[in-house]
């Protein structure tokens, strides 16, 4: 009996600590959302307002008008950076998983490219895009984003295909199905969830990238992160408006992350921890 109460107390203490951590985790996001719906009169006051009495959508209105083109830029860039990665990833992922093309060397070489640091890439990319007169176009941002998405997609899809038992494909082959139809009917449906997960991750990487977009855009092709960083300089006091833009850039990704939850660790550790 005594042991049971002791255990109970321990559980309660642990729960309290965890609730405290949850609050610390969520508070910054709450603060951003709160700021985005506050009226100017409630912002930057001392003491701060922890709740709002008169929520307003004025900041959001501004955001939708002002940042819509940037939102579209982010979407288009992330979409193409993802699409290209998935197509290339599916092709080479299949070859690596089933035929061991290039042995271990080639896939691991591709994996190591995932870590090619943007800070090394920005100078050559700026010069190249400058020469090609592509600065401030979406294409200029999509291309370096492939450094992040392609190696990741190859590696993830290779892992997902390896999980499909080879025997399934072999059985279909005995039944006389052609290779292409085997891939279409058996392999693809089985790795479809894996492809979706990989695509969502690629999308998030591209969406959240700041450095490439910062260097390769001016005003036409600006993405959401660059817009947020720029608003800081242009309008130092527009806290409400910047918060609404920040929320617009963040909330969809958080929702995606909740969908991805089960695969989050796998994606973030490049498939090394499943």
């Amino acid at each position: 009996m005594k042991r049971k109460t002791k255990r109970r107390i321990r559980q309660v203490i642990i729960s309290i600590v965890i609730i405290f951590i949850v609050i610390a985790t969520l508070f910054p996001i709450y603060w951003m959302l709160l700021t985005s719906v506050q009226h100017k009169s409630e912002l930057m006051t001392s003491p701060p307002h922890f709740f709002t009495r008169h929520p307003t959508l004025k900041n959001w209105e501004f955001t939708f008008k002002d940042t819509l083109p940037k939102f579209v830029n982010s979407l288009v860039i992330a979409f193409f950076a993802t699409l290209i990665a998935i197509v290339l990833g599916a092709m080479s992922g299949y070859a690596f998983a089933r035929y061991k093309v290039g042995g271990n060397t080639l896939p691991f070489w591709i994996l190591s490219l995932k870590f090619f640091p943007p800070v090394v890439a920005i100078v050559p990319y700026f010069l190249m895009m400058n020469t090609l007169r592509l600065i401030d176009t979406r294409t200029a941002v999509i291309i370096p984003h492939l450094i992040i998405t392609v190696p990741f997609a190859v590696w993830m899809i290779k892992g997902f295909i390896q999980e499909v038992p080879r025997e399934l494909e072999e059985a279909a082959m005995i039944d006389g199905a052609s290779q292409l139809s085997i891939i279409r009917i058996i392999t693809l449906p089985l790795i479809a969830p894996g492809l979706v997960v990989t695509a969502l991750f690629c999308f998030i990487w591209s969406w959240n990238d700041f450095m490439f977009a910062l260097i390769l855009t001016r005003n036409q092709a600006i993405t959401i992160p660059v817009a947020i960083a720029g608003m800081r300089e242009a309008h130092g006091l527009m806290w409400g408006e910047v918060s609404a833009t920040a929320a617009l850039g963040t909330v969809p990704i958080i929702l995606l992350a909740i969908v991805l939850q089960r695969y989050l660790v796998r994606g973030l550790s490049l498939g090394s921890i499943k």
Binding site: T25, S112, F115, P117, M128, F210, P225, I228
Partner: protein, 291 residues
């Protein structure tokens, strides 16, 4: 099945794309680092190692390396302890883990630029909630990112907020995948919780821990976004890490050659870490194949 020849063709497009987008820029960058590069004129004379010497004799570069070094040590230690601690706490309450875990993962999906911006709101000197809470507890308001001593700490707090969930989630996945047999046998031997943790859990978790630390180190080495928005390296150069130093050299002072040289100096520790990482992954793959 398709012949192996066809399989090679499936890989070719990826390899071509990667050579074009990674290998070519890499060599271009090395070339630029050896030139005296002035963006306004078309001809760039060969400069030998002048850019590297320029960087290595710039005291700001050493300060930036120091800032990156401090961030590396502080973040790895704190994020690891916090991450492991929270993971172990969540192990204790399996039922509520399903509710708490997704919430605790949210920070790592927040755009780093937004983290920096929210940091400006939270640590605002006069009206930020952080100073408000300090006042409630009778502590005077601090200058946070506006002060030379506290700016780096403010950056670290935000970065730890954003990255601890990654460490926690990875270690938790590792903990959950550990086999139960060793635990059963030490229970028979009458080991206490502490002994079990240090002699069973930690050693078995070692591969995952190594992986997490390498991945974190790779990211810390490139820390940029949050600092760009929060302090832009200031006050003075107190929060300027290597990547921001490189960026400013290239795109504020337009010394493209020196920026390339600085980038390649960052590449040295980075490639060592990547080599370790790839070796580790290769090992993991081999073990998997044997099973």
């Amino acid at each position: 099945m398709v012949g192996k020849k066809t399989a090679y063709f499936l890989v070719v497009p990826t390899v071509i794309v990667l050579v074009l987008i990674v290998i070519f820029p890499m060599f271009y960058s090395i070339t630029v680092s050896l030139l005296s590069f002035d963006i306004r004129i078309p001809h760039h004379p060969f400069a030998g190692l002048k850019n590297f010497i320029g960087i290595l004799s710039d005291s700001k570069f050493y300060h930036a390396a120091l800032v990156t070094g401090i961030m590396m040590v502080a973040e790895l230690v704190i994020e690891f302890i916090l991450g492991l601690g929270i993971a172990l706490l969540l192990m204790q309450i399996p039922l509520s883990r399903k509710i708490y875990q997704p919430i605790l993962l949210i920070p790592m999906m927040v755009m780093p630029v937004v983290v920096g911006y929210v940091g400006r709101l939270l640590f605002e000197v006069r009206s930020g909630p952080v100073n408000y809470f300090l006042n409630v507890f009778g502590i005077e308001s601090l200058q946070w990112h506006a002060s030379a001593h506290l700016a780096l700490i403010t950056v670290l707090i935000l970065r730890i907020w954003r990255w601890t969930p990654f460490v926690m989630a990875t270690l938790l996945a590792g903990l959950l995948s550990l086999p139960v047999e060793p635990y059963e046998s030490v229970q028979v031997d009458g080991a206490n919780a502490r002994q079990t943790f240090f002699y069973i859990t930690l050693p078995m978790l070692k591969p995952v821990i190594t992986l997490v630390i390498i991945m974190r180190a790779l990211e810390i080495l490139q820390a940029f976004d949050i600092i760009y928005v929060l302090t832009m390296g200031g006050p003075g150069i107190s929060t300027m890490p290597l990547s921001l130093y490189t960026y400013l050299t290239g795109f504020r002072y337009w010394d493209i050659g020196q920026a390339s040289a600085a980038a390649w100096l960052i590449m040295i520790p980075l490639s060592i870490l990547v080599t370790f990482f790839v070796k580790l992954m290769e090992k993991g793959e081999e073990i998997e194949e044997k099973n």
